[in-house]
Amino acid sequence: MRNAWIVLKTEFINTVTRRSFLLTLILVPLVPALILGAISLFGGDESDGEERGSIFQPTHDLTQAEGYIDLANVIIDIPEWVDEGRLLEYQSAEAAAQAVSNREIIGYYIIEENYLETGAIQYILEDFNPLSAMESTGIINDVLKYNLLDADQKRFDLYSHPVQVEYVDLTPNEEERDNSNPLSFYLPYGVTMLFYVLMITSASLLMNSIAKEKENRVMEILMSAVKPKELLAGKILGLGLVGLLQMVLWMGSAFLMLNLGETILNIPPNLQLRPEILIWGVVFFVLGYLMYGTIMAGVGALVPNLKEASQATFILILPLMVPMLMISVIINKPNAALPVILSLIPFTAPNTMMTRMAVSPVPLWQLLLAVGLMLLAIWILIRAVAGMFRAQLLVTGKKFSLRLYLKALLGQDLGSEDI
């Protein structure tokens, strides 16, 4: 095992001291930190300190005066609930345009003559922004409805709220998430992305290091001194430590940022990441890395050079991408059947579990079951891949194919025609 320790040390030191590695290690948390800083510096200027969180929400001022030109003669009366001076009537488009250039109003509605048949309204705005304009059209819609109902407040109320619903929820969630806040989506999304990137990079680091040594024939020399299994163990553990270091640093800085960001971005407390996510994150990262790292190590052992590996690896890491495709479902309903099943299947478990945990607490038995299933899968995989780590395979320049890989993985004897 002494040799495995040497391999481990070499791999770890070689990777960590590489300049590009250090650069990514620092830049990845630095860039979002800078963005957050920039947002808090620039974005918050226009609003009060308290409303800095509104950088993610519309800031269109809904109290500014607007005009209307009623060509259809629908509006008889402006209801009381509209603030005085919020909606001003103009006789012609010219007068309204004049008022816009005098800064009396920010825009005006032209209610077309055939409004009753077509419902057509033009909303002329000086600052054309369809997105924020949509936020402010509610008021004219309500005023028109009120007038269509003969300006009768009672009928308008009855029309717009025919029922007052009181909800009797038989299975209330303990913790209601505030889904109106975009962060409730972005936060779990970010966690999943981070996890995905970490797992892929450290797994492909492993494959690269094996394939590279095979390509430049260092492997042949190594084989004379180290047993293949020792080499595999050393490499998996060494590069796993690199990945772990990266993950702890990134996750740690994400925590720091969110805690600082609490004041800058106004993240509501029930959306914040819980500390246990860090612990479970480490557990699932280690397991996920062991699984995908082993798979990739197998590819590395079989490919003659790096270029040929890329297509096969894409197919092999496809299961890791499944939770990414379904992320909106997982975030919206973290405890529905599909996310639960995905988080128990070993290949999709690490990612799905992290997303689920970022959204809501996961029952302990599910966590333990997922860990158990993953351990079982890893045990089987390591045994299969260890079989591939034979000097015979490590030194041949045989062309790589997925078929060959699966055959080797299933422990079938690779006949002479295969090698």
Partner: protein, 404 residues
Amino acid sequence: MTKIWKIIKYEYTWHVFQKRFIFSLLSLPVAIILLVGVALLIESLTVNNKPIGYVDHSGALDLQTREEQKGDLFNPIIEFLPYTNEEEAQRDMDLDLIQSYYIISEDFPSSTNVQLVCHEVPPWNIQNQFRRAIRQNLETYQTIDPQIRTRLDEGSIITIATQDGSREMREDQWYLNFTPFIAGIFFVIVVMTSGNYLLQAVVVEKENRTMEIMISSVTHGQLMTGKIIGNIAVGITQLLVWLIFGWIGLKVGGQFWPLLQDFSLPPNYILVLLLVLLPSFVMVAAIMAAVGATMTEAREAQQVSGMFSLPIMIPYYISSSIMMNPNSPLAVGLSYFPLTAPITILMRMYFTVIPVWQIALNIAILVVFAVLAIWFAGRAFRLSMLQYGKKLSFGDVLRKHVEK
């Protein structure tokens, strides 16, 4: 000139007439279709279209005869089943025959309070169906003139427009707001792939020493220009093919799904788009070539080039801020910084009217940086030929220039 032309032709045919290129061409449309398909499938699977029960103590309601409504896969028309008492409704809910039930009090029209018993609050569109059904039972509603009633139910169709009418958008076509996103994604993909091709072309030829032979017959300027133009042409080919795909998709999809036909871009938007995208295209390509020239190993070069793709994507991460406040200092600042400019301008242009001088300034900055990047790439390349096999830092490339 003939030498440049030869290099362009070589680079172009080397990529375009290969199986891998066709694969990458097809992979994006296929991936999009797959993603949308999976999303729609999941969405339709999660829709609950079980009936909703109601217990009407007032006896005044009839929720079963309703006026025609159009439903679709995602907004199915829910059936309302009457029950005489809560126990029966509760029993059916326990048997999972209904998803929830309303309890309407005895003095219904005078008091509008109702209770909704459920395991999970139904989505708003289903609750709206219930409101609508109730509304039809109200006396005030039945006495309204039919034309006004239709207007009330359908609401207004508001067209948002600028004063001179140069920009327009109908409020019910909110999905058009995705246009700049889609355009931006295409831009990033095309720029990154052709940049990567360029990177590979330079580093690989350096690695296997083809470069040494090449440089004996062409000047480094010719080689760089040829490679940059050739690989940009590959990227543009890719973009054109995708645009044709997209156009066919819209036309074909428009037959089944009319709202797809609304997607269109005003001509001046497209013009500015081209003016912005072309120099940024050249700039990124030249940066990639420079990275390729200073690095000795293909793998390392790829990692460094990743650093440059990060700032290009920044506007995406803060897109909501840019869209809501397209004229905030942050958004304006990002549109002056050359790497973040293309995507930021794409978004700002869609969500506001940018003053002409700003666009002109942005384009000018991009052009200046594109020229600088080409100059830098040529310089880095020449130095790298002199110091073969040695990694150059950016400082090296610049310092040597000063000494001369």
